[in-house]
Each structure stands twice: as C-alpha cells, then as structure tokens.
C-alpha cells in the first residue's frame, strides 16, 4: 500500500525530525494517539445511520417513509456527530479526525435535506447508503491504525 507523501517530502521530514528526536530524547508524533471514545462514537453513529437506512428502505413508497417521521432521528444523529467533532477538536494533533467529523456532520445534514425533499428513487437510497459505509469504514480504518501505532509505542516503552 502506498501513501500520498512524496519521497522528497518524507526524506526532508525524516532528517529534520531525526535532529529534533536526538536532541529531545523522545518519540516523534505526527498524529494523535488512539482514543477509544472516538472509535465507539463512530460505531454508534454508524449503527444509527444503518438503522435509519433499513427503516426507510423497508417503508419506501409508503407514508411511513416520510421525512416528518424521522425528524427526531436526524436530530439525534446531529447531536452524536457534533459530540464526536467536539471531542476530536479537544485532542491534540487530531486535525484529520476533526475534519472527517466535520464532513460527516455536513453529509448527515445533506441526507436530512435529501429526505425532506422526498427520496427520489431506490437507486439514490442505495448510493447514499454506500456513501455512509465508505465514510464509516474510512474513519474506523484511521482510528484502528492509530490504535496499532499506539500499541507499538507502548510496547517500545516510549
């Protein structure tokens, strides 16, 4: 797997940080350490979004699928996503997770707007559900990578 950091940039980063490391005697850190509450929050929001999609899919084309029946669900999702964003902001070196949670808030807001206008087709529901999965997989993948890195640091005694 390759990552989007050019070789020249990595070498420059490596050299400058090696000097900092040797002079400070501690491990370098570019990204916040793993936070269990963040991972649990992402999983909770994912579960609630998946439940929302299941309910809409089941009732699509009937009065039960109308937006008015889901206002409280969207409000709860916005609260959960805002709490995730607030926590992400409060953790040092956590700009990536913070930005991801901001995008998630925007995406949930758009899902609510789309539902308010009336879900136009089953295809649209399938696409948005797929988007939700991509978002949650990406966010969890990053949190679990932080966890692996944090575990390595603990094993090394740093």
């Amino acid at each position: 797997m390759t990552y989007p950091i050019s070789r020249a940039r990595t070498v420059a980063l490596f050299c400058s940080l090696a000097i900092v490391l040797i002079s400070s005697g501690c491990a370098v850190q570019f990204v916040s350490r793993y936070d269990e509450t963040t991972e649990k929050s992402i999983t909770t929001i994912q579960r609630d979004v998946e439940r929302l999609f299941q309910e809409i899919e089941r009732s699509l084309g009937t009065p039960e699928a109308r937006y008015e029946n889901y206002v409280a669900v969207y409000e709860q999702l916005q609260i959960e996503a805002t709490m995730l964003n607030t926590r992400a902001q409060a953790i040092d070196m956590n700009s990536i997770t913070t930005e991801q949670s901001e995008q998630l808030i925007g995406w949930l807001n758009n899902l609510q707007r789309l539902h308010r206008t009336g879900i136009p087709a089953v295809d649209v529901l399938a696409v948005t559900r797929q988007q939700a999965r991509q978002i949650f997989v990406a966010m969890l993948k990053f949190e679990l990578a932080k966890k692996r890195q944090s575990d390595t640091v603990i094993v090394d005694g740093r």
């Binding site: 980063l13 570019f30 990536i96 995406w107 991509q134 978002i135 990406a138």
Partner: protein, 109 residues
C-alpha cells in the same frame, strides 16, 4: 447526450495527473477509486433526470454528499501516510538508540 462513467473517469484522472505531477503515483490508486464513484453518481443523476425522477436541488445535494464522502476517504489516506512516516522515523531512531546511548554514556536517544 448520454454520459459514460468510463469517459468521465478518464477525463478526471487526466486532469488530476496533470495537477499532481510527481505526487501522482502516490495517490493514483485512491484518485482512481474516488473518480469512479463520482462518475457513477453523475451518471445515475443523469439517468434519473432523464426520467424526471430527480430535481435540480436533489441532484446538487447528492453530488455534494459524494464529494463529502471522497474527502473523508482521502483524509484517511493522508492520515495513514502520516502514521507510516511517524513509524519510520521512530524505528530509525530506535535502531541507533543503544549505540548512541552507550557511546555518550547518557540515555540521550
């Protein structure tokens, strides 16, 4: 005119490749994947519009949602890159720790 996802992907990737220059090989796999998803969404919007099943407002929202999804995915790619760089630097320093500390006589590294 009927849009074809493959043509849209080809155009988007050519533009991205030109913009990214030497960074292109690092991000190619992710750019291809996200361009494909964007193109599929655009083609679906076109089909729904042709059959009168989607409004302008709904199309705008749906496309915006696809862009937000791509941003989250690409942010993870960026984060994984930073974690990899962090691990590489720390492994390199660890490899010289004993040598340096023994030579200097302090636990410097």
């Amino acid at each position: 005119m009927t849009l074809r996802a493959s043509s849209l992907v080809k155009k988007m990737l050519a533009a991205a490749k030109s913009e990214l220059g030497e960074k292109w090989p690092d991000v190619r796999i992710y750019a291809e994947s996200e361009a494909r998803k964007l193109a599929q969404t655009i083609v679906m919007i076109e089909k729904l519009k042709a059959t009168g099943r989607i409004s302008r407002k709904q199309a705008d929202i749906l496309f915006d949602m696809q862009k937000q999804t791509s941003r989250v995915v690409l942010l993870t790619v960026e984060g994984l890159g930073l974690l990899a760089a962090e691990a590489a630097v720390n492994a390199a320093v660890k490899s010289i720790r004993d040598t340096v500390n023994d030579a200097i006589g302090w636990r410097l590294v």
